[in-house]
């Protein structure tokens, strides 16, 4: 099973540029036609200072693949079972967000196909002035064997 001592382990702060091309590819993938995600003018007309990131985009920034690797989860199948996002304010293209991820919890649970490990990761994004932009919490289920 996963080691409980992982709880509290934290990644190095990691600066992520919010690129407008990345936002565009994201909404093209979800098929969301809202122009505020791709068109500067439409975003301003809607009252924003510039292109906005869609509400689930912070989850992308919060995932730190290198950190996840460092947890040594092995090759077990990993299912995403929950996501919780909190917003300090909207996120805009062109920003640099400093993200930190940490292990919030590790649990063991009995599943239909044997015991499963539950891993809860929390990420926080702050802007250049240090203000909280988002908090993201993901619950992952790891099957044994």
């Amino acid at each position: 099973m996963l080691d409980k001592s992982l709880i509290g382990r934290e990644s190095e702060p990691w600066v992520q540029a919010v690129e407008k091309g990345a936002i565009r590819r994201f909404v093209e993938a979800t098929g969301d036609p809202n122009p505020i995600y791709v068109d500067e003018e439409a975003a301003r007309a809607a009252g924003y200072p510039g292109i906005v990131a869609p509400p689930t985009f912070p989850a992308v920034l919060a995932v730190n693949e290198r950190f996840r690797h460092s947890l040594d989860l092995g090759t077990r199948t990993l299912l995403h079972s929950e996501e919780q996002l909190e917003y300090g304010r909207p996120l805009f293209a062109g920003e640099n967000i400093t993200v930190k991820t940490r292990v919030a919890d590790v649990q063991e649970r009995a599943g239909a196909s044997g015991p499963m490990d539950i891993l809860v990761l929390e990420g926080e994004g702050h802007d250049a002035r240090g203000a909280l932009v988002f908090r993201a919490r993901e619950v992952l289920v790891l099957r044994r064997g």
Binding site: A29, N34, P35, A46, P54
Partner: protein, 281 residues
């Protein structure tokens, strides 16, 4: 002022209000691959068919976050610029290639908060073409009370303070006056676009494999494939632990104001096509 009129204001929202459902084109493998790339999450269960089969799944599947993104589209369109505070989702059932996802939402709470803040909660959920609940969640948003509150705060003024009692008194007065009119004029509802299920109550549409629109989300299975119960929530995520009762239908009571949006849906691009820069509002 035309800009301000586009917002959704607190005074226009009632508990029980339903969002016009959003039916997405079938999820296909190209979309799954694109989402994996765009979200930088290459979980092999999304992109590696052989590995998924070896792990005991019938095929590769869609990331839950893709469907949460669909729900985000539904909610952002309906809120029209109101500020999101929280968005939580539980991935109850796996979404497979070919599934047709319908996203729905219903206002479950409406709060007058201190210092002129006004907040609503929206229960949101997504169903597949068999009417099975695949994602369920909760959105909290903060709204301006009215166009007046919005205008006042945009020029740096203080929030408009309205108490529930004042609102009730105003509504009572409005209902005595005739004809009852809204604080702000709204456009008449457009005819429902062909792609969306007809307004409730109505039989299931024939053209698409969409579940009957009168069906509430099924109760959660005792131990769904993907659903892990949330661990005891540390800090501000408790809301997800709260049981969300299956939404009750409100039938024809959905107000036309919130149906104004779907007109734009009729011409929305298919998945994979480049979103156009056209203004929808």
């Amino acid at each position: 002022m035309a800009l301000l009129a586009r917002q959704l204001y607190f005074e226009a929202v009632k508990v029980g209000d339903e969002l016009p459902p959003l039916v997405k084109p079938p999820v296909d493998r190209t979309q799954i691959a694109r989402y994996a790339g765009a979200s930088d999450d290459y979980n092999p269960l999304y992109v590696d068919e052989l590995l998924a089969k070896n792990a005991g799944f019938p095929s590769a599947h869609a990331p839950g976050m893709l469907v949460m993104g669909f729900i985000g589209e539904l909610v952002v369109d309906w809120l029209r610029g109101a500020r999101l505070r929280r968005f939580a989702a539980r991935f109850v059932k796996i979404v497979w290639p070919g599934d047709v996802i319908t996203c729905r939402g219903r206002v479950s709470d409406r709060r007058f908060e201190p210092n002129g803040a006004y907040a609503i909660d929206i229960e949101v959920w997504a169903e597949n073409q068999r009417g099975e609940l695949v994602v369920k969640g909760l959105v909290s948003a903060q709204l301006y009370y009215s166009a007046e509150d919005d205008a006042q705060q945009r020029v740096g003024g203080t929030p408009l303070l309205v108490t529930p009692e004042e609102e009730a008194a105003r509504l009572a007065k409005l209902s005595r006056a005739q004809p009852p009119k809204r604080a702000e004029p709204r456009p008449p509802p457009p005819p429902p676009p062909a792609r969306l299920p007809p307004p409730r109550p109505a039989p299931a549409p024939v053209a698409q494999a969409v579940p009957p629109t009168t069906r509430p989300p099924p109760p959660l299975p005792p131990r769904p494939a993907v659903a892990a119960r949330p661990p005891p929530a540390s800090r501000p995520h408790e809301a997800m632990g709260k049981k969300i009762a299956p939404p009750k239908r409100q039938g024809a009571k959905a107000r036309p104001a919130h149906r104004a949006k779907p007109a734009a849906r009729a011409s929305r691009p298919r998945v994979g096509s480049k979103p156009t820069g056209k203004k929808r509002r």
